[in-house]
């Protein structure tokens, strides 16, 4: 089938490539953009290992066609840290040991990143519901929840510090 040219922003950079219509976003990111943070897990939209941010929403990139993303903005785990400083959710997973094997972690981080923008002060139940589309087979989720709580606190403190400076 004829390839289509798509142009999108990935982690702040403009990417323009010709893709087959059947190419999935996860394969586009991994093979065309060399971004192997998003993982291929179940490939049937259950496990969430492929979760990325697409136009400000969490999506499973294994169940999305790259051609559908023409004109879109994508953020993967590679785009979270800024200037060599870990994002609060990454710091949380590090400090609270929110992972064991690490396979689910990039998807968990991207979901946590978006969840805390949708709901900056979530209850434990809201965190658990918020990450219910991401499976972890190691941790039992306890430390993942703690990591997201850590990040929520850090983001709140950072925002308050910024306000104090501005005032």
């Amino acid at each position: 089938m004829a390839k289509r040219i798509i142009k999108l922003t990935v982690n702040g950079k403009t990417v323009e490539k010709a893709v087959e219509p059947r190419m999935l976003l996860i394969h586009f990111l991994r093979e065309e953009c060399q971004l192997t943070g998003p993982h291929i897990g179940c490939e049937t939209s259950h496990c969430g290992a492929c979760t990325v941010d697409l136009d400000g929403e969490s999506v499973k990139s294994c169940t999305h066609l790259a051609v559908q993303c023409d004109g879109s903005t994508v953020l993967t785990v590679e785009g979270l840290a800024q200037g060599g400083v870990l994002h609060a959710v990454q710091e949380g997973f590090y400090k609270e040991h929110g992972l064991q094997c690490g396979f689910c972690t990039p998807g968990m981080l991207m979901r946590a990143y978006r969840l805390l923008q949708e709901n900056p002060d979530p209850t434990e139940a809201e965190i658990r519901t918020g990450i219910s589309g991401n499976l972890c087979r190691c941790t039992g989720y306890q430390n993942i929840v703690k990591a997201i709580q850590y990040a929520a606190k850090k983001l709140k403190a950072d925002a308050e510090a910024k306000q104090t400076v501005a005032a």
Partner: protein, 286 residues
């Protein structure tokens, strides 16, 4: 897993989409894609053309029009949950999607896709039946309206003609005092129902004055449990009436055995879900 080859089309209007459906052979509409793309990966579906209707703005959104609530078929589950119109006037339809799939899938999955796919495991068909929804279909011969309860013909078979698109779901807002519930037994987040029941009801002077019951995933299509409704009308919602309604719903259940349970278990759970939904709905009738 990579889907088989297809050609991709992204129309901007309903008219363009209908023209494409009419002119291309072996074409499928792509809505949220969370049923179709997995089916294509597994080669259960191998369309030659995908018509992506995500870039048609007129298919999205929730509005009030002529005393009805009109929901664009491409409205995603997350927007149903967030809709203040639905929260105030059709709360069943903003509450039930929380039981569908997971947050990421609810960002993409659409009410119209869930309905038009014709999968008996999907939740919106039974909910639409309980809500007495009408589906607005548009094709080369124009628009027509079909009641939810006569739309589903069999697994993956619906009233939609080859060149038709489901454009809108139209529902009357709840009258004052309406109670509602959707009870869904599932093993885990993202699972289809082992059995599910949607109830919309009103009470008057201590007896049931109106009730509609839809059943999920206990037959080749979503069902309206009409005999169960009849068993309740004019009765107080006591244990005998609830038991009679559950028995009538179990009598029309024709579930398929799978990893969620055998026919006997699923039939029993059909009764349980009807009982729970009736009690939850009654508690909300005021």
């Amino acid at each position: 897993m990579i889907p088989p080859e297809f050609d991709y089309h992204a129309p901007k209007t309903i008219g363009e989409a209908i023209a494409l459906l009419g002119s291309l052979s072996e074409a499928k509409l792509l809505a949220g894609g969370h049923s179709l793309l997995p089916m294509m990966k597994l080669r259960f579906a191998q369309p030659a053309h995908l018509i992506d209707i995500n870039r048609i703005p007129e298919l999205r959104g929730i509005r009030e029009e002529g005393g009805e609530i009109v929901i664009g078929a491409m409205t995603v589950e997350r927007d149903l949950i967030a809709s203040t119109i639905l929260q105030q006037k059709l709360p069943l339809l903003s509450e039930a999607p929380r039981l569908i799939a997971d947050p990421q899938v609810r960002n993409r999955g659409t009410i119209g896709g869930d309905i038009a796919h014709g999968d008996p495991g999907n939740d919106h068909p039974a909910i639409a039946i309980a809500l007495d929804a009408s589906f607005v279909l548009e094709g080369s011969k124009g628009r027509r309206s079909v009641k939810a309860e006569s739309f589903f013909h069999g697994p993956y078979m619906t009233e939609l003609a080859e060149d038709e698109i489901l454009c809108e779901i139209r529902i009357a807002p709840f009258a004052g005092g309406t109670g509602w519930a959707y009870e869904k037994l599932k093993r885990k987040t993202g699972d289809w129902a082992t059995a599910g029941a949607a109830v919309v009801m009103r009470m008057s002077g201590g007896t049931v004055s109106a009730v509609r019951i839809g059943l999920t995933n206990v037959a080749p299509t979503a069902l309206r449990a009409a005999a169960a409704e009849q068993a309740l009308l004019g009765k107080a919602l006591d244990d005998a009436a609830v038991d009679a309604a559950a028995a009538a719903a179990m009598a029309i259940a024709d579930p398929q055995e799978d990893l969620r349970g055998d026919r006997e278990y699923k039939t029993a759970m059909t009764g349980q879900m009807v009982k729970r939904a009736l009690r939850a709905a009654a508690a909300r009738c005021r």
